[in-house]
Symmetry: C2
Subunit: 105 residues, 2 copies
């Protein structure tokens, strides 16, 4: 789903990933993390897709919301599993969205 109705400024977390072949519990945890993120204060939406690499962009009201989500215990446990098992490589970027344009046919 494409998130189209946000008002700048807001924040984006760009999470780019390359998976290992050791994916036990990965899909279940990814779904759970997306459900849990949606319950957090300041959560605005998520866009996610995967082919050779995965790109997930979550949108947040402000930096404080991102920090609080980072410190969520269940999320912290999932990140440890990610580094131990699921991810070959990842990059995480925290960005301030300054401009936002959309098109819909």
């Amino acid at each position: 789903m494409i998130i189209a109705d946000l008002k700048t400024p807001y924040y984006a977390v760009i999470f780019t990933t390359l998976l290992t072949n050791n994916l036990a519990d990965y899909e279940k945890t990814a779904i759970r993390m997306e459900e849990l993120a949606k319950l957090q204060d300041g959560y605005l939406g998520i866009e996610s897709t995967r082919n050779k690499i995965g790109i997930t962009v979550s949108y947040w009201k402000d930096l404080a919301s991102i920090t609080k989500w980072k410190n969520n215990i269940e999320h912290t446990e999932a990140r440890v599993k990610g580094r131990n098992k699921w991810y070959q490589q990842y990059q995480l970027r925290i960005c301030k969205v300054e401009r936002d344009y959309g098109f819909k046919r």
Copy 2:
């Protein structure tokens, strides 16, 4: 490919897309635009993936580089074709990357 060696602050353009079924010349143009972007001043890298939706994130030194690339004639012509034929919906976000963390096994 995951871009892992950039120093903050820099800029990201997040381009999230949903394609139509009218994709004549789309792939050829997408490859050409990626080649052309790489030649621009201030270009730092690109990450791109597509499944149900496409997410392409290009990275740039500053806002001026992004504006100059936006005004490139061949790029402008490609964007017109995109709105006329290839895209059902898109969202384009211009962001300042404030923090950047990486992991590699």
